[in-house]
Amino acid sequence: MSDTTLFKVTIDNISIDVPAGTTILNAARMIGGDVAPPAMCYYSKLEGSGGKCRTCLVEVSKGSEKDPRPMPKLVASCRTTVMDGMEVKNITSPKVVDARAGIVEFLLLNHPLDCPICDQAGECHLQDLSYEHGKEGTRYEFQRRTFKKHDLGKYIQLHMTRCILCYRCVFAADQLTGKREHGILDRGDHSEIATMIEKNLQSDFIGNVIDVCPVGALTDKTFRFKNRVWFLKPMNAHRDCPTCSGKVTLWNRGEEVFRVTARKDQWGEVEEWICNECRFEKKLSSDWTIEGPRLIDRHSVISQGHYAGTVGTNMPTETIEAVLHGRKPKLLMDIHEVSEVNRPKIELSKINGPAHSNNFNPDND
């Protein structure tokens, strides 16, 4: 790295040297942990993405070594490059925390919050974001906008009501496929993702728009309502695919493959795009060579039981009573006592091979 200049940037009092041209967000991701701002629209693999959702806003308290003036406004960290000596405040800035809570409220304003029937629930970035940065309750008392569901071809369903207009799918459809027939119609809070005009999306790689969607607006029709993601066990697998790398994550329950997705890294971004055939057609265990369990990083509930070494040590410290401000919950049944999958004794990643209902049988303990 002799030909590239390294810039020293300090984010939340942690310093790191990064190559010139790195964005604040990527520098923060290099540090990792809570320092990394959340990103709903930025996707490192999609050129031109970012800057739209404003969840990654940070405060620049010192512009650079040469020009130490702070930036007057909060900046979108995903689109602002670092300068030498820059000092950034993310979670240490009350301004940022306040603005971010506002952004989360705005994003949830027209979101239907139909998580109980949404396939994305459990691996939804908007869920993570609202748990981590939002406030409980909404101050919005008006009707939310709704749209009809649209079928984009035989594999993908678009449910615009859930969409937060991050434009990731527009960039993905634009950059992964040859023809651009996917974009935004209308403007403002009634703008919608659409194809020209209700055309089917036909491309070998168009299934990737499901993976880039941070919410449940684009869903896999071969998986819709089949299972909750946290009941499935993610397994790394590969096959010899003529069109793509064939490296995927299988979501199994027992021997049954419920769905196939691309492998996602710790920021929820696809490592390698996969083709439609791998994603939608190959739903048999025999189609795949299974490599082993996949650890799902980040915060989603799908990672319940998948964290290595965290079972039993990472229990919530708040009791339900504390959350309800002293009121005792009126529970007819404590699901955690009855449910087999939520028993923290079982760590799915330690099971050899795919998890099976037998693993949850109390007789096998």
């Binding site: 739209k52 969840t55 979108a76 689109r79 705005f106 403007r187 403002g188």
Partner: protein, 450 residues
């Protein structure tokens, strides 16, 4: 009586035609600039003049011009922003409609200064009849050798193209304008890179307002220093103000920025006083997006000094007790106007015009509109007012482009100065449907009718 630089000849019979315009001394600046000055000298002259962008932000035009990147072998462009869509602002339309050659003349000089061989006029779609006027003027200028190849034998080539917009407010934002000009959806780009580095088709671009570019003509004719003598402080030259609302003489006025707001409203030379013998309640002094001011703060600043029609004086006191010059859309409200209704009307406009790209503006403008509708209809709650304040606070400064700020400021200012009127709409909901709140204490202290 202030000097007129732009509209002096606007009402000469037949000034729209090249012959009359030329006879009245038109295109002198092109001859002077192209034959005797270098591009750097023109930029220097504009810098000396202290000319500030007339589109709303008031950024020094000469500075903006000097920022343009000049990589070898890459064409540069000048774009004229004629997408004048701010409610209350109609000065550019007036200028283009009555004296189109002045804009063309300014464009040729500015193109030469910036090295733009292809210059664009991006004009608002609703101005359906003006592109014809401009194209006629361009054709005439070309026929007389002031446009096209080898202008006046100086070897400088320049073409001016008129591009119509499709009627979106957001396309008045310079990067959205560039996107729209390129044939894409008019979404603002994320800055940096700024247009001066990467603008139209990735080339260095300067986007200027119609009035700014037209003002280049008197600057070249008289010299930057002479121009800077007009006006006061950093508000140099003359400014077009489009006055509308409850006044006796709505219209476009050219002022030299030394007159007071009081004189502007009440003198017969300008607005001619409040219509129908009513009294002044409030005023939006710079186009719909700037903060509204009650009469007592409009005529005098918070310190009790007289407020003048210039950039510094209008923004005296910041947003707490001041406003902005903005684009010069001077909207006057008399005692019969309801501020809540007025604010709702503005919020509805911004909701409709939000491009929907970034979340605070997309969702926040709609939310504010719904709350204001409810308040206006007498169905609001007193907590709605605090909620509105919180929403505008979370939109402002957190968006990609200034549309979010433009949507937040009017709401903030209305609540800041007219909170009792909002509260009255909640506490006297039924009454608010039949009569107006009236003047209360906002009345201007000066002009109390006998």
């Amino acid at each position: 009586m202030g000097r007129k630089l732009l509209l002096e000849k606007a009402h000469v019979e037949g000034i729209r035609s090249f012959e009359v315009y030329r006879r009245e001394g038109g295109y002198r600046s092109v001859e002077k600039a192209l034959k005797t000055m270098s591009p750097e000298e023109i930029v220097e002259e504009v810098k000396k003049s202290g000319l500030r962008g007339r589109g709303g932000a008031g950024f020094p035009a000469g500075m903006k011009w000097s920022f343009i990147a000049k990589p070898e072998g890459v064409p540069r462009h000048l774009v004229c922003n004629a997408d004048e869509s701010e409610p209350g602002t109609f000065k550019d339309r007036y200028l283009m409609e009555f004296i189109p050659h002045l804009l063309i003349e300014g464009l040729i000089v500015s193109s030469f200064a910036l090295g733009s061989n292809a210059t664009y006029i991006y004009i608002r779609g609703e101005y359906a009849w003006i592109p014809d006027i401009l194209e006629q003027a361009i054709a005439e200028a070309k026929a007389n050798g002031f446009l096209g190849k080898n202008i006046l034998g100086t070897g400088f080539d320049c073409e001016i193209y008129v591009q119509r917009g499709a009627g979106a407010y957001i396309c008045g934002e310079e990067t959205a304008l560039i996107e729209s000009l390129e044939g894409k959806r008019g979404n603002p780009r994320i800055k940096p890179p700024f247009p001066a580095i990467k603008g139209v088709w990735g080339r260095p671009t300067v986007v200027n307002n119609v009035e700014t570019l037209a003002s280049v003509v008197p600057i070249i004719n008289e010299g930057g220093e002479e121009y800077a003598k007009i006006g006061v402080g950093k508000s140099t030259g003359t400014k077009l103000i489009s006055a509308c609302g409850n006044i006796n003489k709505p219209g476009v006025f050219e002022i030299d920025m030394t007159i007071s707001v009081e004189e502007f409203i009440y003198s017969d030379e300008y607005c001619g006083g409040i219509a129908n013998g009513k009294r002044l309640k409030a005023c939006i002094p710079g186009g719909s997006s700037v903060p509204i001011l009650p009469a007592n703060l409009l005529l005098k600043t918070a310190k009790g000094e007289t407020r003048y029609m210039n950039y510094e004086s209008l923004s005296d006191g910041g947003f707490a007790t001041g406003s902005m010059m903005g684009s010069g859309g001077f909207i006057v409200l008399d005692e019969d106007q309801c501020v809540v209704r007025n604010t709702y009307s503005l919020a509805r406009f911004y909701r409709h015009e939000s491009c929907g790209q970034c979340s605070p503006c997309r969702e926040g403008t709609g939310w504010m509109e719904k709350l204001l509708y409810r308040l206006e209809k007498g169905e609001g709650k007193s907590s709605d007012i605090d909620l509105l304040w919180d929403i505008q606070r979370k939109i402002e400064g957190n968006t990609i482009c200034p549309l979010g700020d433009a949507a937040a400021w009017p709401v903030a200012a209305a609540i800041r100065h007219f909170r009792d009127e909002f509260e009255w709409h909640v506490s006297h909901a039924a009454e608010a449907q039949t009569r107006n709140f009236g003047l209360a204490h906002y009345a201007d202290p000066i002009h109390v009718p006998a």
